[in-house]
């Protein structure tokens, strides 16, 4: 009953999407605004409908309807109720519904905004938003149906379908497989929603950009309208990536947070183009340049968002064969191909209308530096894309697959990240329109000189790695320049308005959100860079098997194995938990409880580290294996991760900066349409 209702809701939503898109397109082509209005109303309907479908799935999940294939796949009796709810995005079919639900939310929200100023954009925004939604609904309804039931066929096999196949009887398993243990961590509960929010919200600026192209508008209206959407999309995507890294660090048990895995990179690529886009639209707004480029970037971002959704759900890029196994792969590729070709064709048709309004007068002007920023981000994107598809190419052409590992990525992108850091330090000092290398040089010599004290100090203390020395010099440079910008702005306010420093800073941030929010984000990046350099370059590790009472040494730390307890939990885990004491420089600094959780029904272990965190480093202990019978020996793997907490702190500052930048500014008074002048009234 519930499953049929949910499925019906999805089907009606698909109907509404297709109708809405068609009506809006028809109304725009024939100049019949009532049809466009009809399309807009259809767009309003989709979110309530899909909410019903999502609710239906949640009810099925929570009430243990294991006769539904999806429920049996991602829940089990032992799971607590809150986890059963989050299982909505625990598997392919459910997460496609979740994606659709988010997309519908944005579409319906877009339908609710005031469209008087942008009436010609509305129909095409409807077409693109509902078109994208329709694609995902088609996937859910026809390919990955979360409402399908399990059946026992007449010949003894098992089938999955919504409606009863000929001669089959319903199966009613008493329990389900349960959610993948890796997904049961708080970080993993919130990471997919954040990531999906980031993906979905990038559809909105794309829709507005395409609408502007189709409607033949060459002005910047679409950028102004979507600037906040874009920032918010970027915020969610960044948050999703940060949370993913934190989850990996907390739970995956290899002492790191980023492995350059294809699935990670799939979510990273739209972030790269999104960041480039955030910078280059500023140039378009300020100087009316880079119009073609911004269109290309947003088209690329949309394609990468769909690609990223596809990659993160299906392990499709693990091998060419896995790709062909489900219909999802070819359908996704067809959709990406069609939309990209259509978008590029549209851009080609309107190419002439997007003439740039200004010239580039100096290679040191801010717009030129933003251009360099974009260039570096695109090269990094190309490198990432190459690394992701090369194993497939290799398999396709030579039959042998290869692994493109972190070392390749780091070696190639390292200098590019350094270049971006350098730009972050130089660009705030440059001016729009013109800057000479002389004027820049005059401003930059002192932060460059001052921050070279850092590598000097590091050299004196024994550090020799040139990459680290360069990296820390750059972070010092960027920090100094950015803080100087704050000081400069606050000092100016103090001189002009007599404001105290804290008040001046506050006013700066609230009057010029984009700029100073951006600077806060840059400071966040600096903190993250400090942490990343620390852990990537100076991580230490050791491993050893200890009997009770024995110890293991790593640098200044000593670990003593105190004991092991084993117990079972009601949610189906067998836990082995070690107790260890940690000493640093001979003094006790705490006790840690690294453990292994063995999920009995999935036959899968999870290694949860015990971590002692400080600003200086993390002491990260993993219980790798143990001798259960004798309780005599346990094997521990220890990592010392210098400065890693700067990564999370920097992430927090980063998000704070994005909030500052995205917070609504006091609206500039909307210019009221001038009342018809008396002269024209008289003439009428």
């Amino acid at each position: 009953m519930i499953e049929e209702a949910g499925y019906l809701a999805m089907v009606i939503a698909l109907g509404a999407s297709l109708f809405g898109a068609a009506a809006a397109a028809y109304g725009a082509r024939r100049g019949r605004p009532e049809w466009v209005e009809s399309g807009r109303r259809a767009m309003l309907l989709v979110w309530p409908l899909i909410s019903l479908a999502a609710l239906a799935i949640i009810v099925l999940l929570v009430s243990g309807r294991y006769d539904i294939e999806y429920v049996a796949h991602v829940t089990s009796q032992a799971m607590p109720p809150y986890l059963k709810i989050t299982a909505l995005w625990g598997g392919q079919a459910g997460s496609l519904v979740f994606w659709s639900w988010l997309m519908a939310a944005f579409a319906s929200a877009a339908a609710l905004r005031r469209w008087d100023r942008d009436a010609e954009l509305l129909p095409w925004v409807i077409v693109i938003a509902l078109g994208t939604l329709a694609f995902f609904l088609i996937l859910v309804i026809f390919v990955e149906n979360p409402f399908a039931r399990l059946w026992l066929t007449a010949d003894g096999g098992q089938a999955t379908a919504l409606f009863r196949p000929e001669g089959a009887t319903a199966l009613h398993p008493s329990d389900g497989q349960g959610l993948n243990p890796l997904l049961r961590h708080p970080g993993m509960i919130i990471h997919p929603p954040m990531l999906y929010l980031g993906f979905v919200s990038f559809v909105v600026p794309y829709a507005f950009a395409m609408a502007a192209l189709i409607a033949g508008r060459s002005d910047d209206r679409w950028i102004k309208v979507t600037r906040r959407w874009t920032l918010v999309a970027w915020l969610f995507l960044s948050l999703g990536l940060l949370l993913g890294g934190r989850w990996a660090y907390d739970v995956l048990g290899w002492g790191g947070y980023w492995g350059w895995d294809p699935v990670e990179i799939a979510a990273f690529m739209p972030w790269l183009t999104g960041t480039a886009f955030l910078h280059s639209v500023m140039v378009q707004e300020k100087k009316g340049m880079l119009k073609h480029w911004n269109m290309l970037l947003i088209i690329l971002t949309y394609a990468l968002v769909i690609f990223g959704t596809f990659l993160t759900r299906s392990g499709v890029l693990s091998s060419v064969h896995a790709f062909a196994q489900s219909a999802i792969g070819p359908l996704f590729f067809a959709f990406i191909g069609l939309t990209s070709i259509a978008s590029l064709r549209m851009l080609q048709l309107r190419w002439g209308t997007l003439r740039g309004e200004n010239q580039l007068n100096s290679m040191f002007s801010r717009e030129a530096l933003f251009l360099l920023n974009n260039f570096l981000f695109i090269i990094i994107l190309i490198v990432c894309f190459l690394g992701v598809i090369f194993p497939l190419i290799s398999e396709l052409f030579t039959g042998q697959t290869v692994t493109v590992g972190p070392e390749w990525y780091e070696r190639i992108t390292g200098p590019l990240w350094a270049g971006l850091l350098l730009l972050m330090g130089v660009a705030p000092l440059s001016a729009y329109g013109a800057s000479s290398w002389r004027s820049l040089g005059r401003q930059i010599w002192w932060p460059a000189a001052l921050s070279s004290l850092i590598p000097l100090g590091l050299l004196l203390s024994g550090l020799r790695r040139p990459a680290a020395l360069l990296g820390y010099w750059l972070t010092g440079l960027v920090a100094l320049v950015t803080l100087y910008e704050f000081w400069r702005g606050a000092a100016a306010r103090h001189t002009r308005h007599g404001e105290s420093l804290p008040l001046a800073l506050w006013r700066l941030a609230s009057r010029s959100r984009q700029r100073y929010g951006g600077y806060v984000i840059h400071l966040g990046v600096v903190l993250m860079a400090i942490g990343i350099l620390g852990i990537e370059m100076f991580q230490r590790e050791t491993q050893g098997t200890l009997a009770r009472g024995e110890q293991l040494t790593l640098g200044r730390y000593v670990l003593v194995y105190d004991g092991l307890t084993q117990f079972s939990t009601p949610d189906g885990r067998d836990i082995s938990r070690a107790e260890v004491s940690v000493f640093r420089d001979g003094r006790p600094v705490g006790r840690l409880f690294p453990r292994q959780d063995f999920y009995v029904s999935q036959n899968q272990p999870m290694t949860i580290p015990g971590v002692r965190s400080s600003l200086e480093d993390d002491f990260y202990v993993l219980l790798v294996s143990w001798e259960p019978i004798a309780q005599q020996g346990a094997t521990f793997k220890i990592y010392e991760n210098p400065l890693v907490n700067f990564v999370w702190m920097g992430g927090g500052v980063f998000i704070l900066g994005t909030l500052v930048a995205a917070w609504p500014e006091r609206e500039p008074e909307r210019r009221r349409r001038a009342a018809p002048s008396r002269a024209s009234m008289v003439g009428a």
């Binding site: 090369f390 692994t403 390749w408 491993q543 294996s625």
Partner: protein, 154 residues
């Protein structure tokens, strides 16, 4: 007498060295991990061999330990794994055959991108003077007549 003493010493030396051999340390976990770090799990996707938790990976790490105990070098162990399981166990594609692409394409893309960027920047910098640089209608007959008239009046 001296011969017997030397013989005894030699025997003692032999016995001592034999027992020392028997007590020779097994390669430590750190030594195994140092090699395993550079290899990837032959069956799981994109998981380095030193962190892979599966039973199969544990066995492969033990294989590394055995080889180390036999005195194999890192290169020999890596070659052994490649011979058994293919190129995918290496952390980066070996620079042979098609794999040259993955090392050559990034610098090529960088250079190509830089070229495209330079072209674009040059086109934006074309000085506007070029368009109006022609002396204003020097060949315009009307202008010439005007100048002549003015000259006559002047």
């Amino acid at each position: 007498m001296k011969l017997a003493g030397a013989g005894l010493a030699a025997l003692l030396l032999l016995v001592l060295s034999a027992s020392a051999q028997a007590q020779q340390e097994q390669p430590s976990d750190d030594e195994v991990n140092a090699i395993a770090k550079g290899l990837y799990c032959p069956v799981c996707r994109n998981v380095p061999l030193d962190v892979c938790p599966t039973l199969a990976c544990q066995q492969w790490r033990e294989t590394i330990r055995e080889k180390l105990a036999l005195g194999w070098t890192q290169q020999q162990i890596e070659d052994y794994f490649v011979a058994q399981y293919g190129d995918r166990v290496l952390a980066s594609p070996p620079p042979s055959g098609l794999n040259w692409l993955v090392y050559a394409l990034p610098p090529i893309a960088f250079a190509a991108g830089a070229l495209i960027l330079a072209q674009a920047v040059r086109s934006w910098q074309r000085p506007k003077a070029v368009e109006g640089a022609q002396p204003p209608a020097a060949n315009d007959p009307y202008r010439r007549r005007l100048e002549e008239e003015l000259d006559r009046r002047a």
